[in-house]
């Protein structure tokens, strides 16, 4: 390496130093530390002498019905939420981008606006919508539903209720999808039209393949987010898991184990389980993406 190149390298490393230090101090070292915790017995609730407990925390995890039940709550929510949060922004972006829609600039801004509303506030705003004399049930009654669901008090309906509350987060997805749609070369549509492709076949053979990287990106972010979902139920039900344990999400259980019951070691074990599941699912999605995500050749 020449003297000049070495100087450039030194300067570059100096500029990224804040991140390097931050990554080491706030991410890497603590993560390794929590991994070590999983083999210890740190718990502020019980003042036992610190010792190595081997796989005891993992054994407890396998026998912990609450942990698996809460993982199931997260999975059930994900099954309903993921299709919505991936498809809805795409469909709304298609509609906003349609040549038949006027005022698309205004629509874009209005759809994106709730993105800046703090989610504690949005949880409370939506709670007000979902209670029995809120507008949603009033509207349902108006349309002839005699007994609309008790959204936030019924274990069956609370999950769809939470999905509705989450709708206000789709704004950024719409913007990303819109940017993707505008980046599709118009020649592709011209060529498809020459071949006699109608609206549906253009969508199927041009728009969706060209949008697949964007859809994949929103999917990955949505998966990482849904695995950690628990703050809205924490605000609405004060962490009780009401109604009937239907909102005891995995991350809520993890949060309470660590911060409420101060079982540091077992909490760390739960955190590592969450991390490993997220990692496995993400890697799996990356592997599967080769079959359906099309990157244009220049990338």
């Amino acid at each position: 390496m020449s003297r000049l190149a070495r100087r450039e390298a030194r300067q570059g490393l100096l500029f990224i130093l804040p991140w390097l230090i931050g990554f080491a101090v706030f991410t890497a070292v603590p993560m390794v530390a929590t991994f070590v915790f999983t083999f210890l017995n740190i718990s502020l609730a019980e003042q036992e002498p610190l010792r190595f407990v081997g796989l005891a925390n993992y054994q407890r995890l396998f026998g912990d019905e609450q942990a698996w039940a809460s993982l199931w709550v997260t999975a059930r929510f994900a099954l309903l939420w993921l299709p919505v949060v991936i498809a809805l922004p795409f469909l709304l972006a298609l509609a906003v981008n349609s040549k038949y829609v006027r005022g698309s600039g205004l629509l874009r801004v209005l759809l994106f606006m709730p993105y800046v509303v703090p989610f504690v506030a949005s949880a409370l705003i939506w709670e007000n919508m979902l209670v029995d004399n809120g507008w949603i049930n009033s509207a349902l009654r108006f349309f002839g539903v005699a007994e609309p669901p008790s959204w936030l008090n019924d274990p069956t309906w609370v999950i769809p209720g939470l999905v509705m509350i989450g709708l206000w987060g789709v704004g950024s997805g719409i913007i990303i999808n819109l940017a993707g749609l505008r980046g599709i070369p118009t020649q592709l549509y011209d060529a498809a039209r020459l071949d006699g492709a109608g609206w549906w076949r253009q969508l199927r053979h041009v728009t969706i393949p060209m949008m697949s990287p964007v859809l994949f990106y929103t999917m990955i972010l949505a998966v990482v987010e849904v695995m950690q979902y628990f703050l809205i139920p924490l605000v609405l039900f004060d962490g009780s898991g009401d109604p009937g344990g239907a909102t005891r999400f995995f991350n809520l259980y993890l949060y309470q184990t660590f911060f409420t019951y101060q079982e540091m070691s077992y909490g760390s074990t739960l955190a590592w389980l969450l991390f490993v599941i997220t990692l496995v699912v993400t890697l799996l999605l990356f592997r599967l993406s080769r079959r359906w995500v099309h990157y244009t050749s220049e990338r």
Binding site: G12, G22, A33, A121
Partner: protein, 343 residues
């Protein structure tokens, strides 16, 4: 002519449908505004009007009486109930009290009360002092301003390092940086909490402020993408004039990258303003240090029975982010676009 008409109908229909969807999407904001002005009494009462109102009363011969909607001879009249009876009651017409008692057959309990428009602006004043709004606002502003400052400073430096310098391991390090986006927040929150607890920072603002000065993946990514679009010739011209890398950054890159830097400022400010989990974890038990979102959630726990208060408090906490968005919506939208497309 006909195809044109078909097209126009289609445009009209699609546009109406889309604005209808958006209206429904934003309707919770309208309900929040209306609820924030309602009395506790109105919210708990079934069949109360849509707009903030009070039950009407009428003072007759020195006494206050409730006004009901009474069907008389096929028309509904607003009458004050003066003499309650099981099968017949005496009413007075507030518009013409001199006419004296009107006797009405039927049980008055089946009647609907009459309402009059009465927005409770006092809800806002009440909440202002109940949650100690000035203190919460002060805490939030300090946290957001310092956090934003730290993020912009550190992310600009790091993004510049990744965008303009060649050094061994640059590719893998950048991948590592991006990978941290996919790391679940709780997974890093737990270990960092343990560290901060060890050094005695829990219960102070330090765990919320200090990490901001060590850059984060989203904003480094956004800034680096933008820096890469600035022609290198401009840096080189500056360095020929004898400017060092820091001078080049400040005099060439930063002025050019202003749109991206504003986006980072806005995103970080709104993000810090809206953050709940980190302050909740580090400042629980320290109400004097907590920001708005934590205060609002606690307030919700105390006043569940009075939605008017809750919604007024909510309005007070979202006002500033929403205002910022209204002023800078273009910058917000462009910022989101640049993180998404180049992925």
């Amino acid at each position: 002519m006909a195809p044109n008409l078909v097209r126009r109908t289609r445009v009209a229909l699609m546009t109406i449908v889309m604005f209808g969807i958006v209206a429904a999407f934003l309707s919770p904001l309208v309900q929040m505004t209306l609820s924030s002005l309602k009395s506790e009494q109105q919210v708990t009462q079934a069949h109360s009007p849509l707009l903030p109102s009070d039950p009407r009363t009428f003072t007759y011969q020195g006494e206050r009486y409730d006004v009901y909607r009474v069907p008389v001879d096929g028309a509904v009249r607003d009458l004050a109930l003066v003499d309650k009876g099981r099968t017949e009651s005496g009413f007075v017409d507030p518009a013409r009290p001199e006419q004296g008692l009107i006797t009405w057959q039927g049980s008055w309990r089946t009647l609907e009360p009459s309402w009059t428009l009465a927005p409770r602006w006092s809800n806002y004043a009440d909440v202002w002092s109940l949650i100690d709004f000035p203190r919460l606002l002060f805490n939030t502003v300090v946290l957001a301003v310092v956090g934003t400052l730290g993020t912009v400073l550190s992310c600009t430096l790091v993004a510049y390092g990744f965008a303009r310098f060649r050094f061994p391991g640059r590719g893998p390090l950048f991948t590592l940086l991006i990978a941290t986006i996919f790391l679940p927040v709780t997974v890093t929150l737990i270990p960092t909490y343990t560290v901060f607890a060890q050094i005695g920072w829990v219960g102070t603002w330090l765990p919320l402020l200090v990490p901001a000065f060590f850059a984060n993946a989203y904003n480094v990514f956004l800034l680096r993408q933008y820096f890469l679009t600035i022609p290198r010739e401009m840096d080189e011209a500056a360095s020929i004039d004898g400017a060092g890398p820091l001078r080049t950054l400040l005099s060439v890159i930063v002025p050019q990258a202003w749109p991206a830097i504003t986006a980072v400022v806005l995103f970080t400010f709104v993000y810090t303003w809206n953050d709940y989990l980190t302050p909740l974890v580090y400042l629980s038990g320290q109400p004097d240090l907590q920001p708005l979102q934590v205060g609002l959630a606690a307030f919700n726990g105390l006043y569940t029975k009075n939605p008017g208060y809750i919604q007024a408090g909510t309005m007070m906490t979202i006002a500033i982010p929403v205002l910022l968005f209204v002023c800078f919506q273009r910058t917000f939208v462009r910022g989101i676009m640049s993180t998404g497309v180049d992925k």
